[in-house]
């Protein structure tokens, strides 16, 4: 009898001790980033690599760019030479502005274009461990609307160095996963 009692007690304490075991798995799809792919302007079907692209959010306190290369040095970790990049949208505002600096670090060839994305947000439940995630909807182009809406605004930098982005297209306005391209930029 006593053995059973002590066993049951041990069993119940054992159960109560393993309650806080939830950690949000990194593979769980949570708040997605905006996926941008670069293509050649002359041949829009061919993916193009950017050269030393640095992306900095407007109003970021530290002034640091998005880290594309975790293992890089203080300079190179902000640079990418890929044909696809993912940038986070703000989960606390309906608009975000980024400076896209091509040939960053090269004082002569550097060229900055600024893109502002406008979107609406949804909060979606994920799980106990992960909590909620935010999904985004890029606004549809409706310049006659009230207020007028555009999914993005492309502006040149104050240096007036011209656009290195020849054209910007919305491929998928529902930003729910990072497995697809949302914005296509022709360079």
């Amino acid at each position: 009898m006593k053995k059973i009692i002590s066993f049951l007690l041990l069993f119940t304490f054992g159960l109560s001790s393993c309650e806080k075991d939830d950690i949000c798995d990194a593979d769980t799809p949570t708040t997605p980033r905006l996926v941008i792919s670069f293509y050649l302007y002359k041949d829009p079907q061919t993916a193009a690599n950017v050269k030393n692209l640095k992306v900095i959010g407007e109003g970021v306190e530290s002034g640091e760019g998005i880290i594309f290369n975790e293992n890089g040095t203080d300079v190179t970790k902000y640079l990418t030479n890929a044909s696809t990049i993912s940038i986070p949208l703000r989960t606390d505002a309906d608009t975000v502005t980024y400076s896209f600096i091509l040939n960053s670090g090269n004082t002569i060839a550097t060229n900055t274009d600024i893109l502002t994305f406008n979107y609406s947000r949804n909060t979606v439940y994920v799980s106990r461990a992960c909590g909620f995630k935010t999904t985004f909807n890029l606004l549809t182009n409706n310049p006659a609307g009230n207020p007028p809406t555009t999914p993005f605004v492309r502006t040149d930098s104050p240096a007036a160095d011209g656009f290195w982005m020849e054209a910007v297209q919305v491929i998928e306005s529902n930003i729910e996963s990072e497995n697809e391209t949302h914005i296509k930029i022709l360079i």
């Binding site: 049951l8 949000c24 980033r33 986070p88 703000r90 975000v96 439940y125 909620f132």
Partner: protein
């Protein structure tokens, strides 16, 4: 406090009346039927002081045992007392079982819970009532007139409850724009239901006459779960915390009172053989 005491006293009085009644019926049992083998009485003497049922031994007689049948009602002290030290919890559970046959008991639990679950990213409160019904099988062989039970049983449970999401955090694996603070929410989800089955293992020991202390653990399997559209049932009253799978666990610590209703005589089989030619 004064009122509580008053009720406590009246309860005790009520119970003492049952006690008296129980004693009466015991006395009316015909003495010639209640007898024991000499050797058995020796054992009893060492194990437990004899009750009125066990009479002086007559050699070569039939051992007859009376099993009491009745309703046992109690309360889960674990849930009741948890409210005192855990500000996030209020709950009560009333337990009852009724002895159907020698080994089978009809069992039911009825409860109310109000529990605030605080996870890293979510804070939610579940409030609701539940009912569980099923049976217990007693596999403990008692000595003589002892009435302790060690049971294994099955239950079906059903809960109707509501949930309120108090606050939540948005998970952002790329906190370039900084970590967003927790968002206060007042979202309430009503009309939620859940159903489950459970395997319950427990024991109840008689500590005083008719008073039982017991505890048990339950393993639960969620069968039906009506979730809100944009949230999950993180805690279901009666089922407790939900996990990724359908499994759940429960624990209770009960104090219960046995109300005897009728008795059945039990003749131990091996002695019956000997006894039959005598009659």
């Amino acid at each position: 406090m004064k009122h509580t005491l008053k009720y406590l006293y009246s309860f005790c009085l009520l119970f003492s009346m049952f006690l008296v009644k129980a004693q009466d019926t015991t006395a009316t049992a015909p003495p010639e039927e209640i007898a024991l083998k000499k050797t058995k009485t020796e054992a009893v003497k060492t194990a437990k002081t004899a009750k009125p049922v066990i009479q002086k031994a007559v050699n070569d007689s039939i051992k007859i045992k009376t099993d009491r049948y009745g309703l046992r009602v109690g309360v889960d002290l674990y849930k009741l007392t948890r409210g005192f030290y855990d500000k996030d919890y209020k709950g009560i559970e009333v337990v009852a079982d009724f002895r159907l046959t020698k080994k089978y008991y009809l069992a039911a639990e009825l409860g109310f819970e109000d529990k605030t679950t605080d996870d890293d990213r979510l804070n939610s409160t579940a409030t609701g009532t539940y009912i569980k019904g099923g049976f217990d099988y007693n596999f403990y062989q008692n000595w003589l007139d002892m009435e302790n039970v060690i049971t294994i049983g099955l239950r079906g449970g059903f809960s109707t409850f509501s949930q309120q999401l108090n606050s939540y955090k948005v998970y952002n694996p790329n906190p370039y724009w900084g970590e967003q603070p927790s968002i206060i929410s007042e979202r309430k989800y009503d009309g939620l239901t859940a159903g489950w089955g459970e395997v319950a293992v427990g024991l109840k020991a008689e500590v005083f006459s008719n008073f039982f202390v017991g505890f048990g653990v339950q393993l639960k399997l969620l069968v039906a779960n009506k979730k809100p559209d944009d949230f999950d049932n993180l805690y279901i009253p009666g089922f407790n915390r939900t996990y990724d799978g359908n499994f759940g666990v429960g624990f209770n610590y009960t104090v219960s009172y046995f109300i005897p209703i009728f008795k059945k005589k039990v003749v131990t089989p091996e002695i019956t053989k000997k006894a039959t030619p005598k009659k």
